[in-house]
Amino acid sequence: MARAYPSDKIKSPVHLSIGQEAASVGVCAALEPEDVVFGTYRCHALYLAKGGDLKAMIAELYGKVTGCARGKGGSMHLIGTEVGMHGASAVVGTTIANAIGHAYALKYQKKNALVVSFFGDGATEEGVFGESLNFAVLKQLPIIFVCENNQYAIHTHQSRRQGKPNVCARAEAYGIPAERIEHGDVLYLYERIKALAPKVRGGGPHFLEVMTYRWQEHVGPNRDFQLGYRTEDEMHPWVENDQVDRLKHMVDGPRRAKLEEEVEEEIAAAFAFAESSPVPPAEELYADIFKESHS
């Protein structure tokens, strides 16, 4: 995507997940299809990890009618209700509240499913964060809160935004068991969710702070170390500890080569699909303002 971006065919501001994939993958691999996730504007990894269709995602970024939101949502609002991906917001913290509501409904409907609410460290500064945690405890909702802590809200470090930068302590203050996973270890995260899920499905929230690091700029395809707000040295250990690379080396040579070839083919096919898909026709501008009701 970063390579395709300069072509200007992607008609949407992209907040790339590169470097942060492990949080989405580790969590979603441990979920059941009927489990539900809500995300942030940095939602590409989450959408794909939950099983979202790659073709529909690239087409959405291209503004094509075959996109997952018919070319009307763009990169920041990927959706795949058929796989339990229930949306993402450009406004920080917003979907945390939607996630608790969904969890309340699942409990009321007596469904054996859970909700995972993904958000960043910046969201923990929003009022809706505290309000939502309080309600989740009060109603003992089946929800896992996952704070993907990449330490930066755009260009501002957590230590410059939080008087006490201890996110887990805040969750615990509301009465939610919380734990911090230091190195973004994808397999450890998977095991933790596997272990937690049955308990959470029975009711009662859990909180995970997953440390991670964004390699690219906040929005756009490039690196941004020239801005001076962070250093390449800071990123270095995260590149060394790259979970994609780690998994890759756990697969033996011939199988890995075959997998890589398949993935490359799938990506090429998705871009070709997006390229060849039509843009929404003019009448689509006025479609889906309201859902037709039948009372």
């Binding site: 539900v36 809500f38 996109g67 997952c68 939101a69 018919r70 070319g71 009307k72 949502g73 609002h77 959706i79 209700t81 229930h86 949306g87 917001s89 450009a90 406004v91 917003t94 979907t95 945390i96 509240a97 939607n98 996630a99 608790i100 509501g101 969904h102 969890a103 309340y104 409904a105 699942l106 009321y108 409907q109 009022g127 809706v128 309000e131 939502s132 309080n134 309600f135 009060l138 479609a287 889906d288 303002i289 309201f290 859902k291 037709e292 009701s293 009372s295």
Partner: protein
């Protein structure tokens, strides 16, 4: 059952002036009409749930939620933490999961804490996600007036919400419309802002006991006339009907219209009346600048300009913060007499200096505290 916005129901608003029973029809208060609509829908559809600050407390939102907890249980009827933002977001999440939540705000002013979820998520999700999801939710909110309600208990802020595509807004005046509109709102697959006026809560009027809907996008002519069209929004509908009575004394026949649904707005019914009368006065239960009345006037003007000469006038809150002292508060709101005076000036095409002598039977409703 869909009731056309005419005929027997048309006189319902007029009866606000009189109250009581007419032709043996059952009468209910606005409060009881809201409660009955909620109860009937909750009984019909287990996906309907209701919550908000104080919904399950002994006062039960002026009685509008009374008895619902006992009948439908604490999972479907509950008071919430003081978290308007998250609870609005939660309502959206519930709607995404297939429920039909009703979120209650005892004051419309408190909605300001929930604007992100209302404007950025509830209104936009159906469109922004290409029709993949819908948000069937109702947000009830109440406007206060008099007895020192003051700056933050008195605002009619629905015009903010009319601005937003994807959100419906309704402000019923009569018990009949309160029940029919709330049923329609609950059954609607889109977010609906349901605006109640506290002064209207204890007004009585005929309400059929069976479920019925008053569908979005249809205004009602509440009193016929030929000389001027008065459009009164929410509580100002009552003041317009009283103004009509004052105007009759001097031989002016006002036609009064209740838009009922502010979004979608029925400009056709209003334009049709203005074509006849040539004069349009909109009396808003909010500020004039960028208000609902201003929008109504603009839409009617666009339809009728070049077709017919007509005059327009807007009335609404004084362009100040609502004060608490009665001497100032009285001047803050339009009332039947000031509406009648402005209407006469329009009809005669000149300032007449006339202000009708107050009649006891047309006095504003005296509101007693503590709310």
């Amino acid at each position: 059952m869909t009731t056309p916005a005419t005929s027997s129901a048309a006189s319902a608003a007029s009866r606000l002036l009189k109250g009581g029973t007419l032709n043996g029809e059952r009468t209910l208060s606005y409060v009881d009409a809201v409660r009955e609509a909620t109860d009937q829908e909750m009984s019909r559809d287990p996906s309907v749930i209701i919550f908000g600050l104080d919904v399950d407390d002994p006062k039960a939102i002026q009685g509008t939620t009374k008895g619902l907890l006992e009948k439908h249980g604490p999972q479907r009827v509950f008071g919430t933490p003081l978290s308007e933002d998250a609870m609005t977001g939660a309502a959206i999440g519930m709607a995404l999961a297939g429920l039909r939540p009703i979120h209650v705000h005892i004051r419309m002013d408190f909605l300001m804490l929930a604007m992100n979820q209302l404007v950025n998520v509830a209104s936009k999700s159906h469109y922004m996600y290409g029709g993949k999801v819908c948000i069937p939710m109702v947000v009830r909110s109440m406007i206060g007036k008099s007895w020192g309600q003051g700056a933050q208990h008195s605002q009619g802020l629905y015009s903010f919400l009319m601005h937003i595509p994807g959100l419906k807004v309704v402000a019923p005046t009569t018990p009949y419309d309160a029940k029919g509109c709330l049923l329609a709102a609950i059954r609607d697959d889109n977010p609906v802002m349901f605006v109640e006026h506290r002064i209207l809560h204890f007004q009585k009027g005929p309400v059929p006991d069976k479920p019925y809907v008053v569908s979005p996008g249809k205004a009602r002519v509440t009193a016929a006339g030929t000389d001027i069209t008065l459009v009164g929004i929410s509580y100002m509908q009552v003041e317009c009907l009283r103004a009509k009575a004052y105007l009759e004394d001097i031989g002016i026949k006002a036609e009064v219209i209740d838009p009922i649904w502010l979004s979608p707005l029925d400009t056709e019914t209003i334009s049709h009346s203005v074509e006849k009368t040539g004069k349009l006065m909109v009396v808003d239960n909010g500020w004039v600048c960028c208000g609902a009345g201003t929008e109504i006037l603009a839409q009617v003007t666009e339809r009728l300009q070049g077709k017919r000469d007509f005059r327009v006038k807007r009335l609404g809150f004084a362009p100040v913060t609502c004060p608490t002292s009665p001497s100032l508060e009285d001047a803050f709101y339009p009332n039947a007499r000031t509406i009648a005076a402005a209407a006469r000036d329009m009809v005669e095409g000149k300032p007449t200096g006339w202000l009708p002598e107050e009649k006891a039977e047309l006095q504003s409703i005296v509101f007693k505290g503590p709310f």
